[in-house]
């Protein structure tokens, strides 16, 4: 099409010159536009700096606050009690093993009786569930005043009977019962009504059978049962002393904390009163201030009551250690099963270790000083290397970072392990092998994943993935997998799978870009040398794009570490370091995460408390981790950048 020429257009030079003549308030509009654009860019930077300042401002006070709390913990004598109380918990662990050993031993005799009893009760329960509606309406009718006419009651009764008969006929009775017993069970179940409270006769017999068998088993393994009871009872005198001291320490702490709160309040009120002009208001403030007064706690005197008992405590520990060592020596070797024998042996070996630990703890009591100041390094150590995160406790709050960090890291590791092969391989395929039509399908679909809200994924994790993993873990031919069958459907592996799914779009897109950026000349050269397509891909393109792929993986990691909603809903929220002694099966344990704890607890704590500051501290660390990961991603991208052809 030919366009008519436009001779009326002014020459370019004059247009440019003219535009300079327009000014807004003496400023060139071009400058204004530049500032506008530059301003927008700097807003992002300013907001980021503000976020950092805010996080630091709220979080940095944590260290002094926590230090103060730990100081109170020490001065009130709580630490002193914990020296003995903490290792004493080991007694329960050993006791637990013994109880399990006993139960396993008893089972050799009583298992069949118990299974039969439990199965019968389970069946009864199923019948009751199936007849709930009719039996409830009958019992409601029976309670009515005035009583219903007998005819109506009879009708309800017959309905209940009909339902019970139908339910008992529809049950499958396990092979544990003989044919005659099955028949009797069915007959008895059919007669179940809410009006009869006695157990059906056969159920009573089964229960009695079990009790008899259990008693028989207990006589057979009497020595083991007795050893367990003695072992558990051995703590009692020591525990009594510790509990008494603990109560005293707790009281001291409560009084000290109350005094502090009231004192700060009083000083604040007095300060307000000093500034107040209105005499009435001033008087009321001063009055309120004087009401907020309590006696200061004499810590030195209170602690005396605890430390003076150190000798007694040491004697008790020594006595306890001797008793349990004696118990270990006479621990019987004849347990019922192999498992039980192993457990008893473990306990026999565990007791001397435990006794030794108790003695060591008792020796520490002497060197403990209530007025030894808590150094800031101890506090930093207690936060970054602390192994327990205990909040809202009635004894002492501890903010230890390790359980949360380990949960976050394990989940991120699982997610990256799953997402990396999927996204990188998908990127290679899309970039190198896929036809145009396939590309048009794959890319938008993968990028669409990003649009799924994470809370929706969380619900999928609870209701679908969790059950799926659990069901799969119960397949008999998969039992060689460590950790199978799994116990919890909400666990780190579940969360890792979902996070992998969330990380795939980021990692896929960035990897694909990286492959796209490989200079055309490399590929041409490889082709010219006669390489096949596969050789070109794996020997030339992937190595050339490796920096981009690595930084894609790192950015995916950043996305995974920071994700909150999914881990909060799916990870199981158990605040403990995963038990890595379980081997790779540990990934099926529940855990809590850095992001999850902030989301779960921040809404509920009072502003400015140590718990609030601790959560901000976790936020700061999380922020630092994200920055570090991003910085690494950039560094990697620069380091391995292919030389531009």
């Amino acid at each position: 099409m030919d366009r008519p020429t436009t001779p009326s257009r002014p020459p370019l030079r004059s247009v440019l010159l003219r535009s300079r003549k327009h000014t807004v308030l003496g400023v060139d509009p071009q400058h204004l536009i530049r500032w506008f654009f530059g301003g927008n860019a700097s807003i992002a930077v300013i907001v980021l700096v503000l976020i950092m300042i805010f996080l630091l401002r709220e979080g940095i006070d944590f260290l002094p606050t926590y230090r103060h709390e730990l100081q109170t913990y020490r001065r009130a004598g709580l630490e002193f009690c914990d020296i003995i109380d903490q290792p004493l918990q080991q007694n329960q662990t050993l006791s637990s093993s013994l109880r399990q050993a006993i139960s396993a031993s008893l089972e050799t005799l009583s298992k069949s009786a118990r299974d039969r009893r439990d199965a019968a009760f389970l069946l009864k329960r199923q019948i009751e569930d199936k007849t709930t509606r009719t039996s409830e309406s009958l019992s409601q009718a029976l309670e009515k005043t005035p009583p219903l006419p007998p005819a109506e009651l009879a009708k309800l009764r017959s309905e209940v009977q009909k339902a019970a008969a139908a339910a008992s006929a529809s049950l499958t009775y396990p092979d544990l019962f003989s044919a005659a017993e099955r028949e009797q069970l069915q007959r008895e179940f059919a007669a179940l009504t809410p009006e009869v409270t006695d157990l059906p006769p056969l159920l009573q017999t089964l229960a009695a059978d079990f009790t008899a068998k259990d008693r028989e088993a207990r006589t057979k393994f009497a020595s083991l049962v007795q050893a367990q009871e003695e072992f558990e009872a051995a703590t009692e005198p020591l525990q009594a002393v510790v509990d008494e001291l603990k109560q005293h320490a707790q009281e001291t702490k409560e009084n000290a904390v109350e005094f502090e709160v009231l004192e700060t309040n009083r000083l604040r009120l007095l300060e307000a009163a000093a500034k107040e002009k209105d005499p009435d208001e001033k008087a009321s403030l001063i009055k309120e201030a004087s009401a907020s007064f309590t006696e200061a706690v004499n810590l030195a005197e209170r602690i005396q009551a605890i430390t003076s008992r150190a000798t007694e405590l040491r004697e008790q520990v020594e006595k306890y250690a001797q008793v349990i060592e004696k118990a270990a020596a006479v621990l019987p070797t004849d347990a019922g099963t192999g498992v039980a024998r192993t457990m008893v042996n473990d306990v026999r070996e565990g007791i001397p270790v435990h006794a030794q630990a108790m003695r060591k703890a008792a020796a520490q009591l002497d060197s403990w000083r209530w007025d030894k100041p808590v150094s800031i390094f101890t506090v930093i150590g207690a936060f970054f290397f602390g192994t327990s995160w205990i909040t809202n406790s009635s004894w002492q709050d501890f903010f230890g970072f390790v359980p949360l960090l380990s949960g976050s890291l394990v989940i991120a590791f699982i997610a990256i392990l799953i997402a990396t092969p999927v996204s990188v391989v998908a990127a290679i395929y899309t970039n190198q092998f896929a036809s145009e039509r396939e590309k048009e399908l794959i890319k938008p679909v993968i990028e669409f994943i990003q649009a799924i809200p994470s809370v929706v994924l969380g619900f999928i994790g609870i209701s679908l993935v969790g059950n799926l993993i659990k069901d799969v873990s119960e397949w008999s031919w998969l039992q060689w997998v460590p950790g199978f069958p799994i116990q919890e459907r909400l666990n780190m592996f579940n969360a890792g799978c979902l996070l992998a799914f969330m990380a795939v779009p980021t990692m896929f897109s960035l990897s694909e870009d990286a492959l796209n950026n490989v200079p055309r000349a490399y590929i041409d050269a490889s082709d010219a040398l006669g390489a096949t397509k596969l050789q070109t891909v794996f020997r030339v393109i992937v190595p050339a794009g490796i920096s981009g792929i690595l930084s894609a993986i790192l950015l995916g990691l950043g996305r995974v570490i920071g994700e909150t909603m999914v881990v909060l809903l799916v990870a199981g929220n158990r605040i403990a370091i995963p038990d890595f002694s379980a081997g790779p099966g540990a990934i099926f344990q529940p855990a809590h995460t850095l992001t999850g704890i902030i989301a779960q607890e921040l809404g509920e704590v009072s502003r400015g408390s140590s718990h609030w500051q601790a959560l901000f501290m976790v936020g700061i660390v999380l922020f630092a981790i994200s920055l570090l990961v991003n910085w690494c991603a950039r560094a990697v991208a620069r380091r391995f950048e292919p030389h531009k052809a």
Partner: protein
């Protein structure tokens, strides 16, 4: 985090009406706020209260933080206010007034297929403190116990510690769940699970109630059941106007009927 925010009525008609409508903001316990208080609010409106409710239930601690900062008229709590919370409120010029509204029974639940139907008080303590690790130790089918508890903001979390655990800490193997419903669903799906819920939630699918030392929770046995506890509403100072009307309604016979139906024990029976 399960944020059960139920903005109950902001109907179009009400929005159009020229009469200014008061909003009651109620914050606090999940035990009270998920079922009971919304039902009471609904009934209160039906009987003619021109008021809209804004209820958020995220744990008893939030009742006091909200009352202190003036972002709630009524706080719901499944435990008594702690001394430091009272001090916090006082320092912000808020004096708390307490109303006992109903009794709740913390109900210990296990999976329906678990043969255990009774635990002694000592066993219960040991299970939740992590001393007992395996069901075989209490006479059940061998298998590691999974303990589900509420999270730390919950009044039930704290109450259970006081009522059942003599102030001991939960074991480190416990898993902290956001609400009663979540505990019920996890215990219902895990044959080795144990947890506790408010009595109103004990009827959920797949779980069964465990009696404690032979005492099973039921409205008639509220005094003898070891894990019974009162639940409270708190206001700033003596309530006035709509707040007072609503609290009076909760304590009335009509309110008691709703409390009973929602699975709590009204004061008329508990006292």
């Amino acid at each position: 985090m399960k944020t059960a925010i139920l903005t109950l009525v902001t109907t179009f008609a009400a929005a159009l009406s020229l009469q200014a409508q008061t909003t009651l903001r109620i914050r606090g316990s999940d035990t009270l706020g998920a079922k009971l208080v919304p039902q009471l609010a609904e009934a209160f409106k039906k009987q003619g209260g021109k008021v809209s409710f804004d209820i958020a239930a995220e744990g008893s601690s939030t009742a006091f933080t909200n009352l202190a900062s003036g972002t709630a008229e009524i706080g719901m709590s499944s435990r008594k206010v702690k001394a430091d919370e009272r001090t916090l409120c006082r320092s912000k010029g808020v004096s708390l007034t307490e109303f006992e509204v109903a009794w709740d029974m913390i109900t210990v639940v296990v999976n329906k297929n678990n043969p255990i139907s009774d635990l002694s008080k000592k066993q219960l303590l040991q299970v939740f403190a992590g001393d007992i690790k395996d069901w075989s130790e209490v006479g059940g089918t061998p298998g590691p116990i999974s303990v589900y508890t509420r999270n730390t903001s919950s009044g039930t979390y704290k109450d259970f510690m006081g009522l059942a655990m003599k102030g001991r800490e939960y074991g480190t193997n416990s898993q902290k769940m956001a609400g009663n419903e979540q505990i019920a669903s996890e215990v219902g799906s895990n044959p080795n699970g144990i947890g506790y819920v408010g009595y109103a939630y004990a009827g959920a699918k797949g779980i069964k109630i465990v009696s404690i030392g032979g005492s099973a929770p039921s409205p008639a046995a509220v005094k003898s059941y070891p894990l019974s506890r009162p639940t409270f509403l708190y206001t700033n100072g003596a309530p006035t106007g709509t707040t007072k009307a609503f609290i009076d309604f909760c304590l009335s016979t009509a309110g008691n009927a709703i409390i009973g139906k929602a699975g709590f024990v009204p004061l008329s029976i508990a006292k």
